[in-house]
């Protein structure tokens, strides 16, 4: 098995781990971290596919590389926005729970979900 394949399997596992964390972790900040882990796995898959497309003196296909660079910056700005939302939620309600059965009761939605 080549090194590229090892990294490819690692990337696939990172996507799975991120998905699991995104679903099961109740805290928003943990969900954000898990989502970033998922995204990082997807970026790595791009890198693995680009590495296999090494040609013309390039060690890695430049097109997926450029897409990943754009993706990393977009992921960072989305993360910053998500964190700003969580911090604002914490400021206004004093808690970061996403559950409707929150004990604080401030502005709780009586209609359920």
């Amino acid at each position: 098995m080549s090194g590229v394949t090892v990294f490819g399997l690692c990337a696939a596992a990172a996507v799975g781990l991120g998905l699991y964390g995104l679903i099961t972790n109740p805290q928003p900040l943990r969900k954000i971290i898990a989502f970033n882990l998922l995204g990082s796995g997807v970026f790595l898959l791009f890198g693995v596919i680009g590495r296999r497309g090494a040609a013309a003196g390039m060690g890695n296909d430049p097109v997926p590389q450029a897409l990943v660079i754009t993706g990393v910056v977009v992921a960072f700005s989305a993360t910053a926005l998500a964190i700003a939302l969580v911090l604002r939620l914490f400021q206004t309600t004093g808690s970061t729970t996403l559950s409707n059965a929150a004990p604080s009761g401030t502005g709780s939605n009586p209609s359920g979900d």
Partner: protein, 314 residues
């Protein structure tokens, strides 16, 4: 393809171990620290994949600035560790585990049966490099062949900063983002904040300039400049500008604005939107990159600073 070296297997195992740690560890702060370490090691994987440009971006933005962002949020939310146990039930956990394992297995299977020889656009990118007279194919793709993506990404940065600012309480609108930092004027932080920025600014500009022919570019350089700015802010040597500042807003729209102007000029005088005449391609790309690095540095710094919190003079 060669056989995997011990180094590559160990690197992949450690990265995976850190990934598991960030998901299963109980304390959010520990998970954040694990994720920062994960981001830095992933940059090493990018080096092994021969994608130095991505490795620089991942280390600077994914590991560095992203790490500061997550650690800051985790520190602020430390005392909000869940009072209620709204953890997922066992049934949900099992279903999530099955779904995640299936997803990972499908992707792993796809990695194992990728076509051989692999499709690649590298020869096309290299053989068309004459059109821009830049020698770094990644910069060529970013700034010329797929310039549309890069321009729209600048718009995404702008939308993100508008989104963050719009979370300000009414009383703080137009004020300074983030708290006013104070640090011991004789401490290590202030010393480093005086020592490092001159070097960091030179390195940031060098990374931008060398991006034409070697790994580097406006993203990586902009992240370094943003880090230097943040260092000065955190040491209390500088303050974040008020979000109502006209000069700041001009810098924030400079990158996408100039990109759009050049793009429309290409539509009017050239063959298509964002088409550069080959003779002027390099100066045009350089001008856009200079505007972009200012926008990127300012936006990344302000995204980390967060929503406006204080009125001027507070």
């Amino acid at each position: 393809m060669s056989i995997a070296t011990i180094f590559e297997i160990v690197l992949a195992a450690v990265v995976l171990g850190l990934g598991i740690w960030t998901i299963v560890v109980r304390e959010t702060y520990s998970a954040t620290v694990g994720f920062v370490a994960y981001g830095l090691l992933v940059a090493l994987i990018w080096v092994r994949l021969d994608a130095i440009d991505v490795a620089l971006t991942e280390a600077a933005i994914g590991g560095g600035l992203g790490g500061v962002l997550l650690l800051g949020a985790a520190a602020q939310l430390r005392d909000s560790e869940p009072a209620v146990t709204d953890a997922a039930g066992n049934a949900v956990r099992v279903c999530a585990a099955i779904l995640s394992a299936l997803t990972a297995a499908t992707l792993a299977g796809a990695v194992l049966v990728l076509p051989d020889p692999a499709p690649t656009l590298a020869p096309a990118a290299v053989s068309n490099a004459w059109a821009t007279s830049l020698a770094n194919p990644v910069t060529n793709v970013l700034m010329a062949f797929r310039a549309m993506d890069t321009m729209l990404e600048k718009v995404v940065l702008l939308l993100a900063i508008i989104g963050v600012w719009s979370l300000a309480p009414d009383s703080a609108w137009g004020g300074h983002p983030g708290p006013r930092h104070q640090a011991d004027p004789h401490g290590v932080l202030v010393f480093l904040a005086r020592l490092l920025p001159p070097i960091g600014i030179v390195v940031g500009i060098y990374v931008l300039w060398t991006g034409a022919n070697h790994p580097g570019g406006a993203f990586q350089g902009g992240a370094i400049l943003a880090a230097m700015w943040l260092l000065a802010i955190m040491a209390g040597l500088a303050d974040t500008p008020p979000v109502s500042s006209r000069r700041l807003r001009l810098i924030l729209v400079a990158g996408p604005g100039l990109f759009l102007v050049v793009g429309i000029a290409g539509l009017l005088f050239g063959s298509a939107f964002l088409s550069y005449p080959p003779a002027q391609a390099k100066p045009l790309i350089l001008a856009i990159e200079v505007a972009m690095i200012l926008t990127i540095a300012a936006t990344l710094g302000l995204l980390l600073a967060g929503a406006p919190e204080r009125r001027t003079g507070q």
